[in-house]
């Protein structure tokens, strides 16, 4: 009989790495999403082009290819990253590109009359964005951001292939050591699902908070 407690501990350690990757990756993705999403709406053609190239590039290839490129090719350019850094960088940049389109769509979905009212009230461009447009655009972004965060969580499994000891990697270790396949893989599938459910529950809560006080404004 196999003593499972040690192996379960191993998988839970992996779960911590997975969560760390998800949180750090989401933070980077959020920054990139706003930078590139607002960049695409910029007045300056250079900024717009840069943002478009970034978005198309990262949406055009998969997270897997990007991760391998970051991990295996960047060292030749003199930039050596630990697997964790490579994972966060690739995940954040990849999901950020998807998020950027969400930001752009949500900002553009805020009605024209709102912008006109801002001009009439003599708000600066920054004030307009900060106090009028974004508070209305944010609730539109949140559901899709939730989906993107879940995509990012699922993407973290790929980092096991560059030897980062996340949950999937640990499951493979357990498989190699015990010869049992069902228990490790079923366990991590359930754990991934629990994490994904936690993300969507958290997003629903955030959505309720963000829409507070917006009744009657939204169609």
């Amino acid at each position: 009989m196999i003593d499972w407690s040690g192996y379960i501990g191993l998988i839970l350690q992996g779960a911590l790495v997975t969560m760390e990757l998800t949180v750090l990756g989401s933070a980077l993705a959020l920054i990139m999403a706003f930078a590139a999403g607002l960049g695409r709406l910029s007045r300056f053609a250079v900024v717009r082009t840069l943002a478009t190239v970034y978005i198309e590039f990262f949406r055009g290839t998969s997270i897997f290819v990007q991760l391998f490129w970051v991990y295996f090719v960047l060292p030749f350019a003199g930039l050596t990253l630990t697997p964790m850094q490579a994972g966060v960088l690739a995940l954040g940049l990849n999901v950020g590109a998807y998020g950027a389109e969400v930001v752009r769509g949500a900002v553009r979905a805020v009605g024209r009359e709102q912008r006109e009212a801002c001009v009439a009230l003599n708000l600066s461009r920054y004030q307009r964005m900060r106090h009028v447009i974004l508070p209305q655009a944010l609730p539109l972004m949140l559901p899709t951001f939730g989906n993107n965060a879940i995509e990012l969580l699922k993407g973290t499994a790929v980092v096991s292939l560059i030897s980062l000891t996340d949950m999937t990697f640990q499951a493979q270790v357990v498989r190699a050591q015990t010869g049992n396949t069902l228990i490790p893989f079923a366990t991590i599938l359930v754990l991934y699902f629990v994490m994904a459910s936690a993300i969507s529950a958290g997003m629903r809560w955030l959505e309720r908070r963000a829409t507070r006080g917006l009744d009657g404004v939204r169609a």
Binding site: T61, F64, V158, F185, A186, Y192
Partner: protein
């Protein structure tokens, strides 16, 4: 290390070999996903609450867990219960099931978006349920679905490198084996990226065309 063009020409045939498998896996996976998604969507609409709940939970579960782990599950766990699959078949089934759950949502939205009045009108003109589906509902439900389905098709194409983890010799795996045997990573990895980028940029143009052609029905 510098970029070396002669090396690029040398490895190109191997990579193209891999690209063929990548495309094959994508097309087969898409077929499985299209059919499996339809089954899920129909089961989801079942009047039996137990069936529709179970199917709904199953779809949520598949969508909430990583494709890579699902592939491992199919490839490593199923042989224990006597189902032995070749890597490519396991990969196609994995892709098909994973994206089938996404396709099911597209089907469901497409069918739900046909106005109730159309059903009532079909009933009023004495069409049978079968006739209503074939002549009234589906012709209106399918065109708006096409761009969304094509979108997932492209997404699936981009996810095929994951199949290399279960030893399918597709593009990524060929690139890895070339890189590992020659200790040159720059060219193979960059070429894989370029291949995927070029193909998906071309498909995005195709997608725009499909959107213009089919998705304009409910343009505000």
């Amino acid at each position: 290390m510098e970029w070396d063009w002669t090396f690029v020409w040398q490895i190109l045939p191997t990579l193209l070999q891999g690209l063929k498998i990548t495309i094959l896996a994508t097309v087969l996976g898409a077929l499985v996903a299209a059919v499996f998604g339809l089954v899920l969507a129909i089961a989801r609409r079942s009047r039996n609450a137990a069936v529709s709940r179970t199917v709904g939970f199953f779809a949520d579960f598949i969508r909430g867990t990583p494709l890579l782990v699902q592939l491992y599950f199919i490839f490593y766990v199923l042989p224990d219960i006597g189902i032995r699959l070749s890597p490519l078949v396991a990969g196609v089934i994995g892709l098909g099931i994973h994206y089938g759950t996404y396709a099911a949502e597209v089907y469901r939205a497409g069918i739900d978006n046909v106005p109730r009045g159309q059903w009532e009108a079909a009933r009023a003109t004495n069409l049978s349920t079968r006739q209503a589906w074939i002549h009234v509902i589906l012709p209106q439900a399918i065109p708006p679905m096409i761009p969304a389905l094509a979108n997932y098709f492209i997404a699936m194409f981009k996810e095929t490198p994951l199949l290399s983890a279960i030893t399918v010799l597709e593009l990524m795996n060929q690139a890895k084996s070339v890189a590992n045997s020659s200790y040159r990573y720059i060219e193979p990895m960059t070429l894989v990226g370029v291949f995927f980028l070029v193909i998906s940029l071309i498909s995005v143009v195709g997608l725009r065309f499909l959107e213009n052609r089919y998705a304009r029905v409910d343009e505000r």
